[in-house]
Structures are given as structure tokens and as C-alpha cells.
Point group: D3
Chain length 247, copies 6
């Protein structure tokens, strides 16, 4: 039995609920899942500025959870906010949605597209894709909607925009599979796959499966160099409680 | 419940037994595993020449198994023999040991080393690593032993050579984790990890977990282009039975 | 005097005849050429599945020819089927059409396009181009026809589609030369070059000239590592006769 | 006249003083410089965990300074902590030490080495170098000392270790110039250059010159996409005051 | 005080005047600038053939100027003609327009476009961009006019073509900033930036600021290997006076 | 019958004689070869400075030869001096020694080493290798001797240094074949190959065979963009006679 924590690094409780539902549907029956978000930070993550604050929130949650015995963490944000810092903080494996989804897509298709809601996310995601060594086979496209459009009355319009952008990428980019480029789309994968006739990979589900696999094999993050435990030091002011000494 | 097939593409039954044992220890309790090898082909796979023949053997096994309802395939050879061809043949996800192990290592370490038995495998594995977009963070080293040395009376000497090469890579290459570069080492991962103090990733286990994850999410290989079903055509002579028309 | 073998790895005798005619027109007068195909395997090669079987056929031909004193081999298939395995089997230089054509194109143009008949070949050829280190200057496009369309009554329509795709690549991709992406187009290079006003490189001719050059200099494949002779071992079942011991 | 802010993202006042001294010596006489650090955060930055917190501190300083009319920012940390987020926050150009130093080194040498104090920084710096497109000509080496060793009684020993590592890189890596991989070494550049006989580039000085140049030309960060102003949204808890709406 | 030489490697005096005016407006008040062109060579530089001759002219100017005490050189041609050779000849830092502009653009935008007058320059500039490690974030486009069109009666039409190509690149390529790909456009940067609403980088100004910065820090070209002083040897015929012995 | 011109871009007549001898031994009996050098320029080419002058000499020779009907040019210098400019000047194919040798090496070995006489050539050759897309499989090493050492009394010592460096690269770099990195070694290939037991590729021979092949197929340099004919313009002073108008 593994205990998996899925952390939404922003403060949107509705978002966290949606992810929790998906996570509970996704984990193997013998595993246990908790889904939560930090007590402070931005309502959503749109760009590098929000990421800086959300990273601290993410770390605050891991600090609290880690002593309770977590076997693996999923950072439930498609720009993999704070994943490198989190890997320094805990020995349990940590996976972001983008990395998880890409690893699954690479096994299923020779070329694939990440479709994300907003145009402004395209460039940062391209840098992430490059970091993961996947830029030769992966393109990033935007549907031209906002994440929140996938909720409530705009949902149909948002889905149609997503479908249109995915369809265009299959035709013009030679994409053979679609990766959902936002945690907020986690519930449309099956529907979209049926409509498009190609595999659609949801990062929430993919990252959970990756982490469950790592946890099942009792594989942990290497503390040898890149992700070494931060050396003890003083932290001051509002970050006093976050000093690595007290990890 | 998923049914996972682990195929050793060479004819060594002892090897297949070892892999089956590991596979049975590895799969989730709710899944089922079969491990087998082809009826024809080479006793082991050492280089591109052997690979060409082993690929046909692999495909012959998949042709037989596929109608029985397999949810995912592991090609139990670290040079990922025939994986591309297999992905054209079946809709079930297919994973080689090298690809599976690399995807797990990428999540655990900033740099890692594949340690393979023979020097002659280094260059072909480097080409594979490059194909997977991992060449900037992954080095390939050889222990200077043969695969079969891990069995019987030479086992201790072989293990020591593996340990020495891994240790050297941690020190000189800046590796932070080790990937076992041969299916035949599948049973030493835990021991080696304890001795080295860093994560050691076994491809058999990693590939199984990847495929179990893909199968659990009902993700299948895209038939859109790269891995499209082979167009029907005539096959002649000893390959008559392998014509795609009769798939 | 060098003796060059041009091997069509599929079973289409008509195709082999066409290639033989081109080969005989192409070799230097002081050289000798044989063109043949295996006794078994697929009628054509369309994708990774067919390649797996055609590779074995290719190796069977080389095994037979090598003792007769061949100075260089051309694998007359644009996806360079089995070339790596062939280089392990013989000391004579081995060249595929794609590699040969790319090496010539690189000397003649700053950017060039491979135009291949079917869309399904684009992605596998892109992977090949990348393997050869040419992906920054080479694009791959499809004419949207089948190889066999270049024969018989569809020939004019097929040529027009090829011309259209090449023309489009000159305009939109900035291509400055065209590489014919299929052995079956070997006889249209001159015509197409006249129509387009740019160099058109045919892989059959380019690979033959590369191999004649290597043979003239008595350069052979290095047996040091990547293409080392396969270690002797047992082969079983229908591949019994292919054991490396009996090479 | 330009007003340049040099921000040390950690809390070490001694470090900030050292950087201020260097900055004052460095800026053109017609320019003005302020050097300061945040009111909260870690005493030093050693790895991704510390970076996450220091980024927030950096942003807090820029929020305060920006309304006072700053023409350019230098983030005085060699791992370029928070630079991307800072570029979203202000229109004034922002430069980290690593990026600034690399741009100067690229103009002076065909190959160069970053020498950083601790081994643990090598991998993260390599990732940064890769992000800047410089990994083919730049190697990263460690002197095997701590940053603080460059102060007080250990200073000579630390300098010698730095000299040794640089010397070794000139000889073994083919480096032709040295980049000081830590803001804390900012005062040894001239000395080391004289001892080694090759250019030694200090990031503090290089980044200041880059930013002064950008400011003199009135060039500002593009707000078009990657570094667009963060959309207004609610921030909660201890980050309430940092909401982008109130920028 | 630094003395900066801006060398136009072609023979167009009008061009040199324009560059001189821009250089004088650009240098810091405490610095001094000279702008000149060789006594021989082509009237303009359009492609590799012209570059070969212009390089010799460039070196002839540096040979004359260097003994007068120059602190930095700008090669005022966007294809960075002869920059590598110039770096071998003098210890003072040398910067071409393309390299200077790219270094500034990299700090201001996640993706940017070089817009050059003629289509024929696109490919050579792409090779230069690649050499500078910037090809992942930089695209090269042409306005479809000639450089001289920016003078006299065609000036408005030329500007409009430049504006159109830049606008198109912002929209279709995702460019976030524009680099002027020719020294002859040096006076339109401000205007174009106002029209487009994104930063526009002029290579003349950027290269001057880079070189002023290097000179202010007394950084010089490494003579260790790549840019080592040419070994003394005999030069014959019309190049007799250029022998390195007499440098 | 093809007429091949082999041009030594430096003024060393002894060197030209050596190359002519090799060229005459190398060309096919039905072809004709001329070998010559310019009337002016440096005695040897050691670095970028010498290259700038030698390029002009090279072009002067091609201008004279081209009207006599040359079917292909070899630039007999391993740093491929002026090859790009030469391709703009003539329609006949042009090949440098480095490019020719690399294309042959790529077909014979998975990894190979260029061994050049002087350390100072290593970095420029590495840039050339990268330009040709071969940097992943090719290393550059120096023997630590001067080119002229291969003549006269130092010849044995020079050969031994070359042998030692090649041997070391086979062992330490995993090289499987050796490329002779200087035209002056053109006569030791056979001897060295026998001593080392791996293929040794001489650029003079390889480039001749490439050009003979291109010429036999009547393939010419594309004039479409990169290597387009230089637009007519005025050339002044000592370069007056080189104006493209008079080509």
C-alpha cells in the first residue's frame, strides 16, 4: 500500500476538489490518496510570477505531510511549479503533470501536441518540454480560452475550442496524440479521445501512475547532488519557520 | 485487472525464468503476468545482427498473444529490440527496458548512468539514449563482464565489476543514480542500491510499472501515423505466415 | 575494379529490375554491379513492421554474396532497412539510400527537402534524418501517392503530385534542393530537376557513388565496437542457418 | 543617467556590502546604483529549496523599488534565482549573474569554464547553461570550498582551491577563459586573471554592464508573452500583499 | 575613457556615415568613437562571396588602428563578417552586430525574430544564429526589400515592408521582440518599436554597448587557443604586407 | 570523363606537390585532375586569420579555372577554408577535406576521432564538426606536432605522435576509426590503418571521391538561396578584379 499526496499549488478549493475526484478514480485500489492545497498563495497560476509564490505554498504542504509518511507526491499543476525544490525537500518521488504526461505520450506516439488553454502559457511550456528532452517530438498549442471556462456555462464553448485546437494540431503539426495542458481539463480526456480518435493523455492521471509505480518499487529521489537535502541555515522574517534545519 | 505480457526476445529459457520471477514479484496484485520467449531465434542478443532476428521472434509472440487480450507488453531486452515494430502490430502499449528505466531515472536524479555488462553495447545504447532525448543527462558505462557471468560461479565477480563501474560513474561522471543496463541483472537492484547509497533502477521493473500505468488508464498506442497498422500485403517464403493482412 | 551489390530488401522483382537498370547506368565503367532481392519477405516496405522482416531478408542475401567477394553494398530502400545489422555482418562498406542522398544534398544546398510518396513515412524518415545529424537543414514532405503509382497508368498523376510537393517545399520550407524519398522514383530525378530548376538527388545513384568511393579507397567498416562481428552463438528454429558462428 | 538596482536575494548583509562595493566600483560614473537584500528569507542560497524562498524575497524588493524609477535590475546570485519571475514584474531589464557572465565569455573565448565553490552547484548550473544555449562551449567545475570560505581566515586556502580548479580546467577541458561561479568571489577576478593569464569574468560586473547597456538604449522587457504582466488575481494568507493586482 | 572603433567592412561611404552618426549618438559621453571602412573591397556585402573579400578589408583596418590604442571593435555588418579572424588579430574585444543584438534580445524576450532585408540572407543568418546557440528561440525572416531601399525615395515602402514582416512574425512565429537584421536599418529602431509595441533591437547600438561594457571591465580576448595570435609566417603577392609576423 | 581541380589554398608548393601526387593516385582512371595553389597568400593556414587571406586566394584560382570547364573542386585544407564562398562562385560541386572525410567516417564507424597536428586547431575543428551535424559522434584530438614535422627528418617522430594520439582516442574516447585532420598527412593513411587495425580516412582522398561521385551524376550546387550567385556590384582597390559582375 502506498500513500500518494496530490498537491494543487494554488488556492482554488474548487480546483482541488476536481483534482481529488480524479485522483480517487485514478489510484489503484490498494493505494490511498490525499489531495490538498496550501493555506496561502494565489488563486491560480498564470506565468512565472504566480509560480514563485505557489512554489512556497507547495513546499509548506510537503513539510506538513512528509512526517505522516507519504510515498509519493504529485504536483497538480501543468507547469510543474516547484518540482525541483520539492525533490530537494523529500525523499519520496515527486512528479509534475507535464513531466508525467510527456513520459506517457512518448511511449504512445511519434509526435504529440500539448494543448493548453491560454496563449500566454505556450512559451513557458515549450521551455519545460525542452528541459525534459522532448522538444523534437512535442509541439505546444493553445485553445484560446481560460482555465475557468471549463467550469459552468462556458464549458461547452471551452471544450469546442480545445477540440478545435487539437484537431488542427493533428492535421497541421502531424500530432498523433494529445496531451491536456492544464490540470483543469482533467475530466475531458476520455470524451476528447473518443471525439478525436487518438489517445488523449491527462497529466493528473499520468503523474499519479508514474508516482504509484515509483513508490511500488520503493524508488526514491537521489540525494547525491542535484536534489540533495538543503544544508541547514537560518531563515528570517516570514520564512523563519521554513529553515531547512527544521525539515 | 490488466494482463501484462513480458516477452524475452531471445531463446534463453533460463533468462525467461529469471524475468518471469521478477515480473511476478513486480506486478500489482490485481494484475496478471505472462512471461515467455519466441520459438526460434538467437540464444542471446549482442548487437544489431542478433537484434534483427530477435525482432521477428518478438513479433511472432505478440501475434499469438494479442488475440488472447493483452493489455500491455514489456520487451524484456535492454536494447529495446523491435519495440517500434511491435507498436505497429498491437494497440496495447509496448515498453522496452531502456525506455522504461530512463523515464524513471529522469524523475529521480539530475544525472544518471546506465551500466551495461559489455563494452560492445555502449555505443548502441548511447544511440538509444539519444533517441529518447536523454543524452544530456545520461552516460553509458560498461562493467566489462558478460551477461551470463551474473549466473552461477562467476556471480560474485560480476557483481563486483558492476559495483566498481557504478561507483566510478558516481565519482567521475557525476551520476546520481544507476540504471541496470541488462535484463539479466534484474535481481541485483536492491542489493546494489544498498551498497552504493543511491537509487538503482531495474528496467524490467520500471517497464512493467510504466505499462501497468498505461493499461490502467486504458491508454493505447496511436494508430495515426508513426505506429499505424501495417497495410495489407503479401509476405513470401518462410515469412508467409507473418503477412500483415493476417494480423 | 570493384564489385558492388545493390540489394532491394523487398520481394518485388519489378522494383529490383528498375533498380538494376538504374544501377547499371550509374556505376563507373570499370566497376561491376549485381542487383537482387531476398527469397522471402514482404512485397514492399511500408513502416517498422515490414522493416523487421525485410532486415532478415537483406542479411540472408549478404550472407550468400559475401563469400563471392563484394566490395560494397547498397541497401536499396530509402528507410535504410537493416543497414546497422548489415554493417555488423560484412566488412565491406554498406550504405542506405537515405544516408547516401543526405550526404550529397548536404554538399549542394543549405536546406533541402526529402519528398516521399506516403504521409505515413514522414515521421520514420524524420527519425532517420535526426540519426544522421541532418535534422536542422532537412525537412521531410509527402506527395500523397503510393510508390506503385509511379508505374503504369498513374505515372503522370504521381509525377505531378511529386512535382507539386517539391515545388511547395522550395517555396514554403526554403528548400534549395530535393531528395527523392523512395527507391521507386529513381528514374525521375533528371526530369524533375529540369522542371524545378534545382538539383534533385536520387538515393540509388548517390548511395552507389558513396560505396564506389569507399571501395576504391579500400575503406572498410570498423569492427572495433558498434559494428563488431556478432559473437558466435546458437540460433534456433527457422533461423538456425543464420547463426553468426557460420558467417 | 540610469539608476541600477543590484539585489542580493539572500539575507547576508555582509554579502550585500561586498556586492555594493563592487557595484559602486563598476557602474559608469554617470549612473547611480543601489544594492540591497530582502527583509526575509534564507541567509544563503544553496540549491533549489533555498531558491524558492529567495525568489519571493527578490520580488518583494523589486515591488518596493520599481515605483522609485529603476532603469535596470541585477539579481546578484549566480544561479539567476527568480529572474524569470522578476521579468514578469517590471518593465526594466533584469539580468542574473550567470546569464551576464556567459554573454561576455562567449565573446572572448571559444571555450570557457564556470568555476563554482561547491560540487552540489554543478548540476543546477549546467541546467542553467543549457537554458542559455551555451552548453556546447561551457563546462562547469567546482573548487570544493564553501562560499563563506572566501571571507576571513580561510580566504587564501579558498583562493588556492579556486586557482587549482581553474588551472585544471584550462589544461583538461580546453577552457580559454574562466567565469567566477558565485557572487561571493566578485573581488578576486583581477587577481585570478593575472595569475592564470586568461580573462576572468565576474558575473556581478558583467551583469551590471549588460543592464547599463540595455538601460542606456532604453530597451525594456517585452510584455508580449513569456514575460507578460501577471493577470490580476487574489493572493491569500501571508502572500496577500503580493497580489499582481496591486503591482 | 574607452576608444571604440566601429568598422563598416564594405566600401559604402554613405553607409559608414550613417553608422558613424548612430555610433556617436550611442556611445557613453565619456567614451570616444571612430567609424571607418577599408580602402578596398566590395560596395556591399551580400552573401559568402562578398564576405570573403570584406574580411580582408576589415583586418586591414584593424591592423592600422590597433597601434593607436583601441579598446574595443564593432564589426558593423549583421553577418558578423570576419569577426573570428579579427579576434585573432587584436586583444581588444570584437563584437559583430548579430552577436550583440542576440545577446540583448535573449534578455528581453522568450522568443524573437531577426528581420533582414533580403530573402537570400535568411539561411546564412540562421547558421550564424545556430553558431551563437540561439536557434531554439530565434527565427529569421526577410522583408523582401534591398538594403539600399532604406535610403531615398523608397524609404517609406521599405519601412512598410519591414513593419509588415515584423508584424507577421509577432503573430505567426510567436516573436515577442524584433532584431533589425541589417546595419542599414540602424535609424528605424525607435520608430518601429513605437509602431509595433514591442522592443526593437538595433545591432549597431547593441554591439557598441557590449563592447563598451567589455572595455570598461578591461576584459580582453583570450589568446589561449581559439583566438590565439597567428604564428609568424610568410605572406606573398598582394597580401605580403599582411603577414602575421608584422602585426 | 570529369575534370577535377584540387586547390591547396596556401602558397606552399611542396604541399601542393604532395597533394597532387595523392590526387593523381586517387582519381578514377577515366577522370583528370589538376592540383594548384594561388599566386598570393600565406605559406600555411593556422587559424582564422590565415584563413581569411587564403579564402581570397582560393577564389582567385576558381575564377581562373572555372571557364576551362571544371566538373568539381576539392579545397585541400582540413579546415574547409572558403568552401561556402566557393560554392557561391561556381556551379560545380565543391568539397572540403573535413566535410568529405566526415561523410565517409560516418558510414564506417559509430564513433570516430579527427587527429590534427596542433592543439590550436582543436576548437576551430570542433566548430566545423558541429556545423556538419557530426558533433555527437566525432571527437577532435591533437598529436602535438606541427604539420611540417611530417616532412624530412622529423617525420618518424611526427608519425609516432600521431599514432599515440590515435591509439589513445581509440582507448579513451571509444573512437572506432581515425580521420587524418590535415592535408599534410595524406600519405600515412594506409600505414596508420595497418598499425592501428581500424579504418583511417584521409580527407584528400575522401573529398576527391565525393566530388567525383557528384560530378559523375552531374549534380551541381543549388543556386536557389544559400549558395546563390553573388549579385553584381563594384569592387575597389586591390580587389577590383574580383567583382562578381566579372565572374
Amino acid at each position: 500500500m502506498s500513500k500518494i499526496a496530490v498537491i494543487n499549488p494554488n488556492m482554488s478549493a474548487g480546483f482541488t476538489d476536481k483534482i481529488r475526484t480524479q485522483a480517487q478514480r485514478t489510484v489503484y485500489p490498494h493505494n490511498q490518496v490525499v489531495a490538498l492545497n496550501p493555506d496561502f498563495g494565489p488563486d491560480s497560476i498564470e506565468g512565472y510570477y504566480d509560480e514563485a509564490f505557489a512554489s512556497v505554498g507547495l513546499l509548506s504542504v510537503i513539510r506538513k505531510l512528509d512526517p505522516t509518511g507519504i510515498d509519493g507526491y504529485v504536483v497538480a499543476c501543468f507547469d510543474d511549479t516547484g518540482v525541483d525544490a520539492a525533490r530537494c525537500l523529500t525523499q519520496a518521488p515527486v512528479m509534475g503533470l507535464c513531466e508525467g504526461a510527456i513520459r506517457f505520450a512518448q511511449a504512445l506516439a511519434g509526435r504529440y501536441a500539448i494543448v493548453t488553454p491560454m496563449f500566454v502559457s505556450v512559451r513557458p511550456l515549450e521551455h519545460l518540454v525542452r528541459k525534459y528532452g522532448a522538444d523534437r517530438d512535442c509541439v505546444v498549442r493553445a485553445a484560446g480560452v481560460r482555465t475557468l471556462d471549463f467550469e459552468g456555462e462556458n464549458a461547452t464553448r471551452a471544450y469546442n475550442a480545445l477540440y478545435g485546437a487539437a484537431q488542427k494540431s493533428l492535421r497541421d503539426d502531424g500530432a498523433e496524440a494529445i496531451v491536456l495542458g492544464c490540470a483543469g481539463m482533467t475530466d475531458v480526456a476520455e470524451h476528447l479521445s473518443a471525439d478525436l480518435g487518438v489517445p488523449v493523455i491527462d497529466g493528473v492521471q499520468a503523474a499519479i501512475k508514474m508516482v504509484e509505480g515509483l513508490a511500488a518499487l520503493q524508488l526514491t529521489t537521489s540525494k547525491h547532488s542535484t536534489y540533495g537535502t538543503p544544508p541547514a541555515k537560518s531563515y528570517h522574517g516570514m520564512f523563519e519557520g521554513f529553515a531547512p534545519a527544521s525539515i
